[in-house]
Amino acid sequence: MTKQFKILYRTVLILLAVAAAMLAGALILWTIGADVTKTYSVIIFEPLKNKIQIGEVIIRAIPLTVIALGLSVAYRSGIINIGAEGQMAMGIIAATAVALAFPGLPKAVLLPLALTAGAIGGAAWGFIPGLLKAKLHVSELLSTVMLNYIAAQFYTFCLRGPMLDPAEITMGSGTPQSMRLTKAIWLDRLVPGTRIHTGVYIALFLAFTVWLLLWRTSWGYRMRAAGAGERAARYGGIGVAGCLVAAMVISGAFAGLAGAVEVAGVHRRAIEGITSGYGFSGIVVALFGGLHPAGIIPASFFFGLLIVGADMTQRMAGVPANMVLVLQGIIILVIVATRMVLANPYLEDRVRRRYCRLTGRSREE
């Protein structure tokens, strides 16, 4: 198979996919009477026009990356965690609680402590469905979704009760949020004029760690074996139940850490709506990124772009942000379909033979 053909084949397919997605999107935009070209140019180019906007894309990519990394560990180990949303909320609560409890500690102690607390909060929330699955064969789809609801309610309770900013009570405005956290847990801003924070390093470090864990250690090998062939793993003397629990703990810890980073890096207090669907978008990012760190990082950037773009179309093109969610849906469907097509060697072979016949080259080239 000539390399030249392979590159050509892939490029053409990807361009076709992009065209298909844009066409389908255009159709929908056209039916609601929006300006199609303007909407597209806003989504694709506006967020990259200046430093501030690029920064906004990146700070959204950070939690997406961290969550998707954790999810990929779970999925690779054969457990479908859809509870990252709840695990992230528990991480935010834990990190906030630590910051509120020890406001006097120096940054070098408090920041790692709060981040660890966040990871532990999420890990605990991942441990429950992991254990239920390993010991009692409870479907993780069910348990993680149900734990999402519990976490969401607990989060609301904390913000309105024990963690409510005392100032809100005296002022009487009653916005459900915690007080502004001590500077000792703030993550530093990296680029002046943007909100990009040191969480970028955390995300990159974790990406490397996940790669190392899954593909370079015997633990990762066992977890992947448990996920890819449970029977074979059992046959090979691998403790499948232990792998499941470990994977869920890691997955939950990553989601919890993403929450803690989000609080420490962006909001600096616990407010409602921090999770804002990151836990669910993380699933798409993880799958889109091929459950591999090298794919997850660009995938998160792309989805960060879509999130920011959605915001901007509303302001600049008069297209409701919800329409952008529809576009996102189309893009996801097209991407998944394209991946399936790209992974079909038989089709590639057929196209190649036809291509060779057309160009009059010999088959064996």
Partner: protein, 512 residues
Amino acid sequence: MEPNTGKITSLRVEHITKRFPGVLACSDISLSVGEGEVLALVGENGAGKTTLMNILMGLYRPDEGRILINGEETVFRSPGDAFAAGLGMVHQQYMLVANMTVLENIALGYTRAWSPLALDLDMVRARIDEISRKYGLAVDPDAYVWQLSVGEQQRVELVKTLCLGARFLILDEPTSALTPQETDELILLLRKMTRELSIIFISHKLQEVKNLSDKVVILRRGEVVFEGSTADHSSDDIAALMTGREIHLPRNDAPECEGKPALDIRGLKVRSDRGFLAVDGLDLSVCAGEIVGLAGVSGNGQRELAEAINGLREVEEGEILFFGRNIADHSPRDVIDAGMGYIPEERNTEGIVPSFSMKENFILKDAGSPRFSARSFLKLEEIDRNADRLRTEFDIRSPDTDAAAGSLSGGNIQKVILAREISRMPRFLVAVYPTRGLDMGAAEFIHRRLLEKRMEGIGILLISEELEEILDLSDRIAVIFKGRIIGTLDRGTADSRKIGILMAGVRNDEAV
């Protein structure tokens, strides 16, 4: 649609070519089957037999060539088309839904019992009854497929195909799961059926080819290398044409070994997935340096026994003494660490992780051992070196050791498993159906390796349905029937007739 019930008097395949990425699976193949004829299609693994049959069944479309039924060109766009034309196939890998019952599986294709809102299961049941009585193929319509042994599943496949009204049968290794008596019966049955229909069957067993077929077509590397009347050629001729060389299956004729008992099973009781006692008070012992062949029709407790020995199934009662230590109900890890090697029945799902590369599969049991990892970090170079060595030593044919194990052919997958199990230097080996579905070349290789291990003083429990395999390799032969050892024979006194009688559940002393 009312199925066409006319006879298929001739099936012709002309100049069929089929390519897969990087592989020419079928190259310009032509053959024809006349009314009431039986055509045997033989060839090594990967010779293109299954691909050709899948084309006939409408699963693949040929790149070139055409199919003619009763002289008319027919194009199969889907398996449904092939079926409507009357071609019914029993595949080598069973096309059954594991978590449905036998009845439901058959109802799946039995469109006559369908109406827009209801499914007439009684009608399907009646049909199954009729077919199984007519052909003597007993199946339990209410059993779930996952509960059935491979042999039982094959029977279900046969019944299914016949129920659905096949008028031309394509059988992919139909007898691989049957006892000699059953095989003889099946051959008689198929012979009788040729009054009504024609048959193409794929087989590695040349004896069957001789007994059943009128014509034989030999494929090698996707091409027809020989076509002729079966009667004119001996099985040896056919074997030589098939592989391109002479094949001699090795025999165990080493003197009896007087080793110590390595595996000693006492009063073992194990439950099957369905909850009954599949192994029911089994006693068996295997010495070091001895091959004990466990013969029996599949579904008599072989799977449960093998799993119980290897810690993969709960033991209800009894002891499994492994070099004197009871390993019943120990974890698979414990059993492996005690020195047990195991070639499992389900090579594609249990013996390997199909999506893992070959080299990753070689360390399935040893990812944590100091040889392949240090402080939990994998030693990639050592893993590569190990894989390269095993690939050469065991002649595993693949472009490199990074190829996904699941993409290899059956024979090569089995070699991967064998290579891993043997290279781990086990003290004992449980081999379940080690050569099922393999061609003679691969079977010969595996037999030689097993005999080598025996000579090194390793005890082997060989579970197989292939009597020739058992007779060739075993020092002693035990026959399992309904979860018990119904009789044990020495190599010297055993023959396939005696074993076959025992396999059918008749004790020696009762035999005529």
